[in-house]
């Protein structure tokens, strides 16, 4: 297949007036244009979009670039989890604490477009594959194409239409106009005739669909809100997409689209039914994993490694399992057990795997099983899981500062100021220093007025986790000196990691920070001052529910602010783009 050819289909298929960069030029030129950086369709603001919505009860319309996980989930849901895709999409810019919000700021540079095309080709080839025993490639066309052509060496418009219309509806997340489907079928016929292969024709069009800006960008489309004359709301399909990205981290499935098509999503009762259905779906786990992975900044695992000389027991496999452990534990405690969100930080139960058992020093069962540490164990809550400890540490040593900063910024939504540019690390890194423990070493910073401002914010918390080294392994002493893990968190004193977990559990900013992150993630936009009121309402309802995370998701998904929108105002994102950096250690 000509590498440039699918770009042609992308242009023709998308066919939206907002895709300005596509022209009816030769294939290669089309591909070049697309790859050079095609602007995404802007949020469709509807013909009645004139006024501004009532403050705090609406969210901006946005367009987000699909994330790698969303792409993979969508492909798996549509074509099966055994479709292998090496995606490796470019990471988003963390904005307002979330990569998910950064997706609204993302464009598609040339290198990224190449990756999209590579992924699209892999997907299309597998979907229409007739299999190859020698290459261990299974046949999928019989399972994924809902009909058989009269002649597999020629075009078959009826069969092509059946597959392409249904596929386009799911990929574009809304019904596709008849004339557009006609285009798909015509292009598939042309390719089938040229290649003498019906399935090759389908594959080329599918590849083109997967490169369409309408697929790669999730663009909010709005319509006049009959309940609020002069204001806007998401149309039913954009509401369905927003719901699916929040709850499933994937595109809407047939049931959700049918609810949009039928008008059910336009009613409060209908929205409630659909949200409850989605919350009950197994796909909720994928949605929750994506949110907490984002909130906890676990994208850092992609570049995380530990010095084998310092931590030989911590391999790449261990670190991958550590990330998985936390995400599984969160789902287990918050959904399966329906616990209070704050209990994540005081629970002694974690999901455990055999490879992690070697680091925790506990016997395990095959697979992932809940494991409850005894009451005298230092392992209590998420802060003492290897993921948090290892990802917020140096390659060969722990970091009280990074851990303290992560706790404040990720879990309490507080901002830790930037370090000065000329930090003197000599005292900290002196191998001959008389200081044995991190507490002693960091004392240098806390006594330096230039450093003290930040380190007094981060270190007393981080030092409470010094019983765990840079790999998250327990230690009672450092260089022969017993570790003092006492400290205080905003006035609440503690003596050990368990005490820190309890202090965090009791901190009033813990639930409100989760609400802030969840709402920002849900609407895919940075939050503004005007959102204060709605955040307070959500927090109040969250508390009333006993801090049940599912209830929070439901509250947000059914709130007017979730589907009542204002036109996108990109200028408002500036304030949220403040880059967060660690104070020096």
């Amino acid at each position: 297949m000509n590498a440039a050819t699918p770009a042609k289909y992308a242009g023709k298929i998308s066919g939206e007036p907002t895709v300005k960069c596509l022209r009816p030029t030769p294939y290669a030129a089309l591909a070049g244009l697309l790859i050079a950086g095609c602007s995404a369709p802007a949020p469709h603001t509807g013909t009645a979009a004139k006024g501004t919505a009532d403050a705090g009860q609406s969210s901006p319309a946005s367009r987000r670039l699909i994330t790698e996980e969303q792409y993979l989930n969508t492909i798996a849901h549509m074509f099966g989890p055994d479709i292998e895709v090496i995606a490796q999409f470019a990471p988003m810019q963390r904005t307002d604490g979330l990569l998910g919000v950064g997706a609204t700021q993302a464009g598609v540079p040339a290198g990224q477009m190449v990756k999209f095309q590579r992924a699209a080709r892999q997907v299309a080839a597998q979907v229409v594959s007739s299999g190859n025993v020698a290459l261990h490639i299974p046949s999928r066309q019989d399972a994924l194409i809902p009909c058989k052509p009269a002649d597999a060496t020629a075009a078959d418009d009826a069969c092509a239409r059946m597959f392409l219309a249904g596929t386009a509806r799911l990929l574009y997340r809304r019904p596709v106009a008849q004339e557009r489907v006609d285009q798909f079928v015509a292009e598939a016929a042309k390719a089938a005739t040229l290649s003498h292969n019906f399935y090759t024709g389908l594959g080329m069009v599918l590849e083109g669909m997967l490169l369409s800006p309408d697929v790669l960008f999730i663009t909010d489309r709005t319509e006049p809100d009959p309940a609020r004359p002069g204001q806007l709301r998401l149309d039913a399909y954009s509401y369905a997409s927003r719901l699916s990205l929040l709850l499933w981290n994937s595109f809407p499935d047939d049931r959700v689209l049918k609810a949009a098509e039928s008008g059910e999503l336009a009613t409060a009762k209908g929205r409630k039914r659909v949200v409850e259905m989605m919350l009950a779906s197994p796909r909720l786990e994928e949605g929750m994993r994506a949110f907490f992975d984002d909130m906890l900044a676990f994208d850092s695992f992609a570049s995380l490694s530990k010095d084998p000389a310092a931590y030989p027991g911590e391999t790449g496999i261990t670190l991958t399992a550590a990330r998985e452990q936390t995400l599984r534990t969160i789902y287990y405690l918050l959904v399966t057990k329906n616990l209070d969100y704050r209990d994540l930080f005081t629970s002694r139960t974690m999901l455990m795997s055999p490879i992690l058992g070697t680091v925790y020093g506990v016997p395990t069962a095959p697979g992932w099983q809940p494991y409850t540490f005894p009451a005298d164990s230092p392992r209590v809550g998420l802060l003492t899981q290897i993921s948090f400890l290892a990802v917020n540490a140096h390659p060969a040593r722990s970091s009280a500062t990074r851990r303290g900063k992560a706790l404040r910024e990720l879990l309490l939504c507080q901002h830790v100021p930037l370090p000065p540019p000329n930090v003197d690390f000599s005292a900290l890194e002196d191998p001959n220093s008389a200081a044995k423990t991190a507490r002693d070493r960091l004392d240098v910073h806390r006594k330096n007025p230039v450093c003290a401002g930040c380190h007094r914010i981060t270190d007393p918390i981080g030092l409470a986790l010094e019983n765990f080294d840079g790999a998250g392994q327990y230690r009672a002493a450092e260089k022969g000196v017993a570790i003092d893990a006492s400290g205080s968190l905003d006035g609440q004193a503690f003596r050990d990691p368990a005490g820190l977990g309890q202090a965090l559990h009791d901190h009033p900013s813990l639930p409100s920070c989760l609400v802030r992150r969840a709402y920002g993630y849900a609407i895919g936009s940075p939050l503004k001052e005007s959102d204060t009121e709605i955040l307070a309402q959500f927090t109040q309802q969250f508390a009333a529910s006993g801090y049940r995370f599912r209830d929070l998701l439901q509250t947000i998904a059914l709130s007017p602010a979730f589907y009542q929108v204002t036109p996108a105002a990109r200028a408002t994102t500036k304030e949220a783009n403040a880059k967060t950096q660690s104070p020096a250690e």
Binding site: P308, P354, V359, G361, A365, P366, S377
Partner: protein, 372 residues
Amino acid sequence: MARIKTSLLFAAAALAAAPIASHAAESPLKDGTIGYIITDLHWAGYKTPDAKAECPGGKVNPWGPREQFKALYPDDGKRTVEGTHLAFEIGSWFPDADTPDRFPFYEAQGKYSAGLNLDGKVGPNDFTSPDGEPGIDNQLFRSIGCVENYRPPEGTTTFYANKAIMEERYNRMLIELTGVENLSNDSDVTVTMYRGLDELVADATGDRYVSGTTMRIDAKWGNKFVQKFKGKIVDGTLITEPVAFGQIPWSSFSLPTTQKFHDMRFQLRLRPESAVGYIGGYVDVENWYWQTMKSESTHHQSNGQTTLNSLYKVLRKNADAYPDPVTGRNTAISGSLEAKFVQTFIVHPPTDNKVASAATTTPASSQARHER
């Protein structure tokens, strides 16, 4: 049983095998029980860089299969497959201990060898351990100590034995110590051997293994390896009493076999994360020979100049225990395996009675062994 010294060899071996102390705060000794899993296993001996201390004139055996074949069957233009290749192979499959070997065979003849003092005596054929303990019974080393294949670390047998431990499952040997009050000194402990089911876990360096893994017992096919040993811990060294007969799972080139010992016993330096030392006894010669025959092709034997029909004669000659009641010829040869273990959590199957009842507890009888 000879008094055990805290030897330099043990100390060095323990350091070399030092696994990852991944959970320093919590002892893996729980409820008087601690488990270990095998990570390294090879025949004990002694090796110097130039071989002068242990081999005649510093020479190792030059007559491997290829060299013998060339000498036996010169290319006279009349050679046949039956008369050459097959004849040579038949010599290995029907070994003859009585006919003198046409080729010289260099036996280890130095003073030193690692291993155990199996009989508690110091005899004229005994070796002295590298750290000075006399009375080491290791006639197996005398037989194979100058065969390059068995000279660690370069000898391919060591390499492949450890490779098999890493990659294969049949040889997953576990030992579980129970009744342990103190890992340094305890007058009465029980050691139970099992075959495990799960994989070893390598550390980030790739050439060592982590402690703290969890291993399940093979309660279905591994019952014949469930054996119990009574023992004690003296200054950190586990010393078990010998059992009359013991066997350990062995694997080479994916072929599952066993190593069989009379008077089998353990002597291991214990740490919370590791156990390093010896598994020793009188090795059943026929079993040793045939497991090697089945495991290694002539190709593999050629890599280290191991000609098995020559080696068989030497093994028979040096066998020093368990005479055949009819012929009076010894059937077993003293030897030890150097073994390294890392700590593991051993998970017993829900219905463990079957496994426990399979355990061998027969103690060795001094009357059963009649050394020549």
